[in-house]
Symmetry: C2
Subunit: 675 residues, 2 copies
């Protein structure tokens, strides 16, 4: 059985960006110029041409962009994305007989015997007139596909070719001009064009999806009065400081009523004292569940005021969505079928045998009423979206069914494509990436545990390049309320402060999205619940805010707020740091010095970072710079200006010396000034 049309001779392959064969959208951000590459080729020596078709989901008609050849049958086209939401693109390609003819004509003309210098005649006398008649046919056909003035010009050009052919000259100049070829190319013969078999999806987010600085804090710790439960109002008073440090997302742990049954006491003790505040992640009480507020924080009006106050500081609030219930959550009584019931009739609490977490009931995504459960969970997001929240940090999304996320995020985006979802999934790579494919805008990463030069470089090369970077956007955190890395537990305050500083520089410059669990990191809190010593220790904070109120002395001279402020300022002033895709590592022959650069696509802004991974000692090296990545010639002088301290150095060629003393600075963050 034959094809309906067997003359589609062009093949379109290896189309990029493409995530899992188009099953999931590649991700971009508004304002991006999307670069589409593909292998486009046919049989034989005929030239081929292709065009990209693209459109926003709300448009009916395709826009077009022409493909330009790269090398070895690879082609590239570009299109700008000027709206957020879902886009599609596909490709058409065809044999370009006119271009083949024009190319051959040049070779025929070149082979004419020069009348001034007669040699063996390579083309026979009738060859060129015949070629001109063939070209005239092509131009006439193009005229037939054109209209108005274009059709007229093409018809005239065809007539001119015929006229020339009839003239039978002894020697011909080329009758083709670049303008004429360009004009004809706009009306290609597409009867036998191949169309790529899929329309590939693309999701376009707003800019904060790609570039953000998060500050996490517990509103209940925001009271200025020691021992008093903080409120949304108290938190508002913290906003100016956070904004001054340059953060743009203020993220709060869950703000819902907290369960009483099996409530955890201070330092995760299994028995709570009467005045213990409990973990905000044990969600639900008599007052309500995921759409209620913990009454000590404030009312919905207070919450609305907080949202507005945050916006005034050009920041936005991120809510923590943790889909799990305390035994006191209303759903436990209203929808016991959304949980797993054990043979004794009780509800299955969270477990990692033999460990038990009896204060938490996980939801059962294999519930018979999975549809009702999905609706309710969607309803939680919808409720907070309706109350002005546009950024969500989702707790342990990897313990909820992936098809649910795919549905829920798509559903929310139908009306609110601007919503950002950050996945807190510290889990196996495939699962982290599956969440990103399912729709998560950003994801937590392994950065927190990557401390050595080799592992930092390997990890960021993985996550900042395709295929991963097409769907997964890292948001890197040096700490979280759950993770005080062993490196941050350094006893010596000066060294501990140096560690915090170098981790801050790495996070803020390696990744366009970064965040800190704020006060603890800012003030270099290093006390662990059970000090880490190799693998036996704990990454839990001592006196963790997860279980108790904390007062933080932001005036403590150990504070690294000045550096955080500096880093966020540098990020905002240098577009190179807004993206991850032009991250390049440079050789620094010292295992304690990590050197990398980021640049805008046009190299108009280039940042070169050198971090001393050793918090204790001066480290030096002769850097071996990749000058191409810096947009510099391989020979010659240039200036690097350290944006952390304003000092400038004149460097020369690719080899340059650096020395970093932890007591002075954790790093150089250079702007490269072109000569």
């Amino acid at each position: 059985m034959k094809l309906a049309e067997g003359r589609r001779r062009v093949v379109i392959e290896e189309v990029q960006p493409q995530v899992d064969g188009g099953k999931y959208p590649a991700k971009r951000v508004i304002g991006d110029v999307v670069e589409v590459t593909a292998a486009i080729f046919g049989d034989g020596h005929d030239h081929v041409a292709g065009r990209l078709l693209y459109r926003h989901e709300s448009e009916q008609d395709w826009c077009q962009a022409r493909f330009e050849p790269l090398t070895n049958d690879l082609w590239r086209a570009r299109f700008p994305v000027d709206r957020i939401g879902a886009w599609k693109f596909t490709i058409e390609a065809w044999v370009d007989h006119l271009d083949t003819w024009a190319h051959d004509l040049v070779k025929r003309l070149d082979a004419q015997p020069d009348p001034k210098e007669p040699t063996a005649q390579v083309v026979s006398p009738q060859d060129i007139p015949l070629a001109l008649r063939i070209g005239a046919n092509h131009l006439e056909a193009a005229a037939g596909r054109a209209e108005g003035i274009d059709a007229k010009r093409l018809t005239e050009a065809a007539a001119q070719l015929r006229h020339l052919a009839d003239a039978n000259l002894p020697y011909y100049e080329s009758p083709m001009t670049p303008e004429l070829e360009e004009l004809a190319a706009r009306y290609p013969e597409m009867s036998f064009a191949t169309r790529f078999e899929r329309e590939l999806p693309l999701w376009v987010d707003r800019e904060r999806a790609r570039f953000s600085a998060w500050y996490e804090l517990f509103p209940r710790s925001c009271s200025m009065t020691p021992g008093e439960h903080g409120t949304f109002k108290d938190m508002e008073s913290r906003l100016p400081e956070i904004a001054a440090m340059g953060f743009d997302v203020v993220y709060m742990p869950p703000i819902h009523p907290i369960g009483v049954q099996y409530r955890k006491g201070k330092n995760n003790s299994v028995v709570a004292e009467p005045d213990d505040v409990g973990s905000p992640w044990a969600i639900g009480g008599k007052e309500g569940g995921h759409t209620s507020l913990h009454s000590q924080l404030g009312t919905l009006d207070d919450f609305a005021h907080l949202i507005q106050a945050t916006q005034k500081h050009r920041m936005e609030i991120a809510l923590d969505i943790a889909f799990q219930c305390s035994p006191d959550h209303p759903w436990v009584k209203e929808h016991p079928d959304w949980f797993t019931i054990r043979p004794d009739g009780t509800i299955q609490y969270a477990e990692n045998p033999p460990k038990k977490y009896q204060d938490i009931y996980p939801l059962n995504f294999e519930s018979k009423d999975w549809g009702g459960l999905w609706d309710a969970l969607y309803g939680v997001f919808k409720f907070w979206v309706d109350h002005g929240v546009r950024v969500f940090r989702v707790d342990n999304p990897h313990t909820k069914a992936l098809p649910f996320w795919e549905w829920c995020i798509a559903e929310l985006r139908k009306t609110h494509p601007e919503v950002i979802f950050l996945a807190e999934a510290f889990t196996r790579p495939h699962v982290m990436y599956a969440l990103a494919k399912a729709g998560y805008t950003q994801g937590y990463t392994y950065f927190t545990w990557r401390t050595r030069k080799d592992e930092l470089q390997a990890y960021f090369e993985e996550i900042c390049n395709p295929p991963v970077s097409d769907f997964f956007r890292p948001n890197v955190w040096p700490n979280t309320p759950d993770i005080l890395h062993e490196q941050l537990q350094e006893k010596d305050p000066a060294r501990r402060r140096a560690v915090c500083q170098l981790r801050a520089v790495l996070a803020a410059t390696l990744s366009a999205n970064w965040g800190i669990y704020g006060p603890a990191f800012e003030l270099c809190e290093g006390r662990a619940a059970k000090p880490a010593a190799g693998k036996t220790g704990s990454e839990e904070y001592l006196d963790s805010e997860k279980y108790q109120l904390r007062q933080w002395n932001r005036k403590d001279p150990i504070s690294i707020a000045p550096l955080l402020t500096n880093l966020n300022r540098i990020r905002r002033e240098n577009r190179a740091l807004e993206r991850n895709e032009h991250l390049v590592f440079h050789d620094a022959p010292n295992p304690q010095l990590l050197c990398y650069s980021k640049a805008t696509a046009d190299k108009s802004n280039v940042i070169l970072v050198v971090v001393n991974l050793d918090p204790g000692k001066e480290q030096t090296a002769w850097l071996d710079l990749n000058m191409d990545a810096l947009g510099l010639p391989w020979k010659g002088s240039f200036v690097v200006e350290d944006l952390l301290n304003g000092k400038s150095y004149t460097w020369k060629d690719q080899w340059n010396y650096v020395a970093l003393r932890p007591s002075e600075t954790p790093a150089h963050v250079f702007r490269v000034v072109r000569p």
Copy 2:
């Protein structure tokens, strides 16, 4: 809008083998055990399980194989392919609650207080009985999915678990056995199983598709009488010698009538003398076209006799199919619409402006009657298949439309899945690979021009590993009637013979499929039409058989027939050389020594080759062997036996010394003898 079933929690990704998302089949050979890998995972901590479904196209029912976990969510299953033709496979995977339960039970039991050594009780008294009841439910459910004795055993096991739970013991031994877990795993709960969205195609060839040694010769040069046109009968007399050298495919250039108009004379001269025999690739004359025989070669009966005679020598004939026509081809008159007509009414001959090939008319795959053309071309293959040919070498397939090949090869294979197609496509990589995807069994390669160590290694690493090796099977040739590589044009006979020898060793051992343009290579013919000197020379043979008869003196002492015989014998006696997928390069710190090994999957046969790429001088090196690739421990002695000369050496550990003198041998071809 929700899914019909939202509880399919398992994701199946990264399925291999998969060519272009399943658009084209991966290729295997009968007797292969196909290894399928995939990422299989779900949310949370529940265990997952999966099974492979596979079937030959002629079967209705799927066969099954269970997946076993590798690392990091990757899984593997295997199945044997015992029939040639089209196969399909896909995957089902699901959350394995019973396995999760059994795994947790072990942890619960381990956490029991030891009665002999009382400590703090980790599990509470009712925990284990409750867990046993949950397990009993799982086993009963499995029993409900089983039948007969299996159902009975599972029911009994469930009852036993309930009985144990009722006993409320102070300490429990595990009631689960590996046999019981295995039995239960055979009846999994699959209500919410995920099925991979595609059925992936696989094409299974006969063994010669993977492992073959080709000998090309011109039957018209086979006469024993100088100046006389050889016949199929003459060629039969050559078969014993070719078989004795160990070749198994005897390939003849086209055997059809040769055009008279614009016939090329000796050495490609544009004017032929009256007695010039013309190029066999200028197909078609008064006597007929692609389904006719050149009368001087013999009749269809003679051809049938040749086919039989070849089979008696355990070889087979490969025909050359060149879809192009001389101006005298019957199709030119019968189907002028299958060609391109120029404005002056003449048929367009082949051109590479300003070069003209007026003896050749290319077919026009954009003909209005493309359907008729396809049928006719298919008919050519069908005709020769009906006359006993099962191997085709196709001339310049890259200048014919790719959709045609995909259709034509699939159509032929419906009745003759055993047919082998070798693509003579010396063209760009994407096009070579597209032909392989379209169905070509084997393809010519760039081996002919890869002479340096680094380029040989890089090229064979590309073509012998996935993704390329899943669809492209290289057939490597040191020479062809069109290509006498500059290296083979060496003036000094001893050096030239050394070059031919080392190229033969490389071709025969790097690739499971290899071939030579026989007499010229065997006898180290090195005279070029226009000697190659850098880029200005020619790769054409002087007095090429393409345009004239040649007599070959096979008794010439320069002949490398003994080496060819040796190489083909070694290939047949060592299964390691039957495949490409276990090719590993070893470090030899000398740019003139190329060292590599091939091994069977179980390492029962391991061949280690060291080739001296320098035809002039002795080269030595301390090899740095990858002992894992050789199936050897990193420390200890082992024996390597040179299969070319029978000498054995005892080597030790990974570093071993070799010295190769071109005057003695071009290479070591060692069999590794395990200690």
